[in-house]
């Protein structure tokens, strides 16, 4: 289908002269869809997001396959051409503190992106930053814009980054474990916020997480990964009601739940590692 926002086809990535990290990954993302990438550490879920964004760590490169974004092939694109496509792509990172420059005020970090991507003037970018902070329900946005990152709480910092990500009206957002570092109550607010904005703007989201609970609540479809390979790919309802693969089932058994006795927890069998 050509109306998919994102189509990854048989994507493989490897460390130069080293092991293969991703094995023939394929996935499609329709407009407004939230797709979860789940798996344990090292399964390659973040690596897929980085391939799409074109921010692979230096020794890793795409060895085969392609990534079509809005019908345009991203693999093999020059830096300049990629930058042109980049305005419709955004990232919500895992750790908001390390994603923000500690020595610059929020206002300059937010407006930088907009001036670069949307070629706005100072005043326009400032107005847009204010509007975006309002959209992520931050009270007193003028005050927040004057602050430095360390003066904000974890939840507030994540809101600032969400506001920045949505500011350029992207078609696709890669959310890389955006709530892992947060308290559960703040996590719920942030998840609700991401879904609210994503629906309002019709943005597709590639949602990287290791928490099946988060997947259940926010994703429409999901890819389960293990050791760089796709284990199972299905709409969320299928994965949660009828997990087909043994690995997916083991992942469920290893997830602690407050509503079940503790001795029902089963660590992943060693042969999956």
């Amino acid at each position: 289908m050509s109306d998919d926002v994102l189509a990854i086809e048989n994507l493989s990535a490897a460390i130069r002269n080293g092991p293969t990290l991703l094995h023939e990954i394929s996935l499609r993302l329709a407009a407004g869809e939230v797709h979860g990438l789940v798996g344990t550490s090292g399964a390659g879920k973040s690596m897929i997001g980085r391939c799409v964004l074109g921010i692979l760590p230096a020794p890793v490169r795409v060895t085969a396959g392609g990534i079509r974004f809005l019908g345009k092939q991203l693999v093999g694109l020059s830096e300049r051409d990629r930058r042109a496509a980049g305005a419709s792509l955004a990232l919500i990172p895992q750790d908001p503190l390390s994603a923000l420059n500690p020595s610059r005020r929020i206002v300059s970090q937010m407006t930088d992106v907009m001036r670069l991507r949307l070629h706005l003037s100072h005043a326009e970018a400032y107005a847009r930053a204010l509007a975006m902070l309002d959209e992520v329900h931050i009270r007193g946005p003028q005050d927040v814009l004057r602050r430095y990152p360390h003066e904000l709480s974890g939840g507030m910092r994540q809101r600032v980054l969400i506001a920045t990500a949505f500011a350029c009206e992207p078609r696709l957002i890669v959310a890389d474990e955006p709530t892992t570092a947060l308290d559960v109550t703040v996590q719920k607010q942030i998840l609700r916020l991401i879904r609210e904005l994503q629906r309002k703007h019709g943005t597709s989201v590639l949602f990287v997480t290791h928490d099946l609970g988060v997947v259940a609540k926010i994703c429409n479809s999901v890819t389960v990964l293990n050791a760089g390979r796709i284990v199972e790919q299905a709409p969320v309802a299928d994965i949660f009601l009828r997990p087909q693969d043994a690995y997916t089932q083991a992942l469920f058994a290893a997830t602690p739940r407050y509503d079940r006795p503790g001795d029902t927890l089963r660590p992943l069998p060693a042969d999956f590692a």
Binding site: S41, T255, R266
Partner: protein, 275 residues
């Protein structure tokens, strides 16, 4: 049942440097407001709450890493509320701690064996150090060969096992674990939880487990105390409390946990306001 640790009306206050004026002592801010906490030998208690609820401060006060400003703490009947560090020294081997971030807690220039041996060396226990270290590593599920490696050569889960080995090397009867599985993925987390259950069974350990994740508490603990703004708002048996939470704050915490099952309305449900 005698309490291993018995804390009553515990208060902790820190100087608030942001409000300090020149030539005057900084005014203090109270973090704990009269907390009663007890744990019996071999018992496992979860201490839960959000950031800033005072759960870490409570844990550190129990180990007397910070001195309370009011109240009492007794360890095995002995009052340690204001005990001097020298008097506490013999107890340090019996009550230990596992830290949240093992990479920060382990000296990067020391081998695993040297780090694990540190508590033994500190109390002048020079006999069979190597044997005891290897035994602690083995109990924590690490092979002997890891003894001479360095922290950066290990994965996150392995490093946390080193932290556990260091906490059990002196054969304590109380361990405080502060958010030790928060940064781990479900598979590593389940392994560490499994290990802690095994150690508790084999060594008869009492465990105070600080976390913001109530699901993890259910796996590991018999009893749970819920903290909010420096007070314990609710406590009780895990199964009973999670089935029927009474305090609105506990209900809000539970409602915020995304269970791995489909629920279209979960994200729409407004969080219950806490009075």
């Amino acid at each position: 049942m005698t309490a291993l640790i018995d804390a009553t009306a515990l208060e902790v206050a820190f100087p608030d440097t942001s409000k300090k004026r020149p030539f005057r002592p900084a005014p203090t801010t109270k973090i704990l407001h009269g907390v009663d906490f007890h744990i019996s030998a071999g018992e496992s208690v979860g201490i839960v709450g959000e950031s800033g609820s005072g759960k870490t401060t409570l844990g550190r006060a129990l180990l007397r890493l910070i001195e309370p400003s009011a109240g009492h703490i007794a360890f095995e009947g002995q009052d340690i509320t204001h005990a001097a560090e020298r008097a506490l020294r013999p107890l340090r081997a019996r009550m230990t701690m596992i830290f949240q971030n093992p990479l920060a807690a382990l000296n990067p220039r020391r081998t695993i064996a040297a780090s694990v041996a540190a508590p033994l060396v500190a109390r002048g226990d020079g006999s069979d150090v190597r044997q005891k270290v290897l035994r602690a590593l083995d109990r924590s599920g690490l092979p002997k060969s890891f003894a001479d490696r360095y922290p950066h050569q290990l994965s996150g889960g392995q490093r946390q096992r080193v932290g556990i080995a260091r906490a059990i090397v002196t054969e304590p009867n109380f361990i405080l674990a502060d958010e030790i599985v928060s940064g781990l993925d479900v598979s590593t987390q389940a392994q560490i939880l499994d290990l802690l259950r095994e150690l508790r069974r084999d060594m008869g350990l009492a465990l105070a487990f600080i976390t913001h994740d109530l699901s993890v508490v259910r796996v590991l603990c018999e009893r749970v105390v819920v903290m909010h703004q420096g007070r314990i708002v609710e406590e009780g048996d895990c199964a009973a409390l999670f089935a029927a939470p009474r305090h609105p704050y506990t209900r809000r915490l539970l409602a915020a946990i995304p269970l791995p099952e489909l629920d279209d309305t979960w994200l729409d449900a407004e969080a219950e306001e806490v009075a």
